[in-house]
Amino acid sequence: MAIYTRGYRDVSYQPTSAFARIWPIARHELLAMFRMRFGAILFLLCLAPTVGQLILLLVRAGLWEVAPEGRGGGAIPFGDRLDPASPNFYMWPITTMSFVPFLVLTTLVSVRAIAKDRAAGALEIYWTRAISPWAYFVGKWYGSFLLLAAAFVAAPCVLWLTSVLLAPDWSQLEATIGMVPRVLAGLAWLCATMALLAVSVSALAPTPNFAAIVWLFVVVGSLGFGQVLRFALRENWTVAINPWRAGKRVVEWFAGFTPFFDYSPWAALGLVTGIAAVLLALAARRLRVLEAVAS
């Protein structure tokens, strides 16, 4: 027999590695979207282009009877974009159709990630824990990368696997196995880079709303500015001033496509890497530990 008290108990544990401490931050960031009211619904809406392709796939596989003559034949008006045997079937809904979903996800989550902590004074909590500013930054980046990748890598991946499983034989797999993994790898790179840009902007801004406005201004503004430059300079590469455009060009090159605006992928890669490097350097300055603790 014993009487147990609920007094203070010591705790003993093996400290986790610096790497493992990144994960709680990333998970918290990933879940930020779904903590929001209507967050889950918004996320599903962001999957709309991929879901459209999925419906098309089901129709073509004959699982959905749309119209008797629609099955299995006729010319496809949009070229290879709507042909499940083409890698473009998996890339196009993201690189071309998902600009708005990309804006929604980054504006609601990635670009607020650090700015909201700064506004709430929460940086003081992080800095006074056994964690370095870099681990904090990487955690925030990793969380928003996972969110973007869930929408723009995992979803097309599911689409592809579905198409493989729906095909009557292995022909679909044989036709796509060479290219689709490269498309997915390219998309993963795109998500990682965009998350890096957004989180860096977030580190610079004083409040989350300010960060969101700057981000929208940069991403949407550079879209128009790139077009203006293209007319002025008669150079295609200028559209790559927009990071999403530049990223798209790199993914297309990586997956072996010839895009509508043809220009050197190296120019695109160089531009987007340069922008990322500059932002990252500024973010590093802004995340110095001292700044966070109130005087």
């Binding site: 544990y13 610096a18 493992a20 401490r21 709680p24 709430a120 004074g121 929460a122 964690i131």
Partner: protein, 314 residues
Amino acid sequence: MSVRLRGLTIAYGSVVAVDDATFELPKGAVGLLGRNGAGKTSILRALLGLVRPTRGSMQILDLPPDADPREIRRRVGYMPERDCFIPGLNGFECVALAGQLSGMPERQAFRRAHEVLWLVGLEEQRYRAVAGYSTGMRQKVKFGTALVHDPDVLFLDEPTNGLDPRGRVEMLDLVQLMARDLGKSVVLSSHILQDVERTCSDVVLMEGGRVLAAGPVSDLTKNARRTFHVGVEGCDAQALALRLRGDGVVAASVGERGLLQLDVVEGFEASTVFAAVSAAGGVVRRLVEHRRSLEDVFLGAVAAGSGAPAAETV
């Protein structure tokens, strides 16, 4: 010894925030006192490994002087003064996440977060969003956050700020529990000197970046001249004052609120007062040696240290 500073100097550019600070903090609760801008925050920052001292050395616990700041922060818990919470979390998540950031594995952090929240008395409200908490509950969450990774040293910056009387007593009880019963070192920074007097055995007084005084409260508040205040009932205080002179009592007078003031020297015996009152047919209601309050010590030290009168008289 929990913390030892030797000639610690911290300068931000040309601004010297801490100038040649030397003191040792013993185990138990220690008050860190000073006006705003006296250098308290800079010392806390240095002890947390957030700034590198310009000169001098410091040692925390048994850690080597060149210890990784992250290792220091794993052994130290810090409760910030201002409200700072990671947005969008409930009380439990807040404390658990802080534990994980300090290097606790997830399961340990979760278990510990529940325990700590029970200890600070937030068991009922732990699943509610922190954004909806009252000031008292916020202070308790901050305290829990500082305690979750079982640190050996706790830095508490204004823990009673904005609390109502009951909240203050609860917070001070927690501080005492830490320092007395659990053997942790607590560094308490507070503007409310009675809170420090009540919980701390030692204090460090700072002003303008320099340490004005450091040592046990009882030493600092000791008077050079011993004075006793005696409250009597049922006999004439004035007559008593006359009778008590001699026997170690150099001067006796009746002060405010009818209290008898006895200035005494070696050889004074309290029993003679009891005997005299008893003989006069009265009773003693109070017989207390007058000690300076920490406020007197503080105001005096600040006035001496800055060369200006501590309190402007209006």
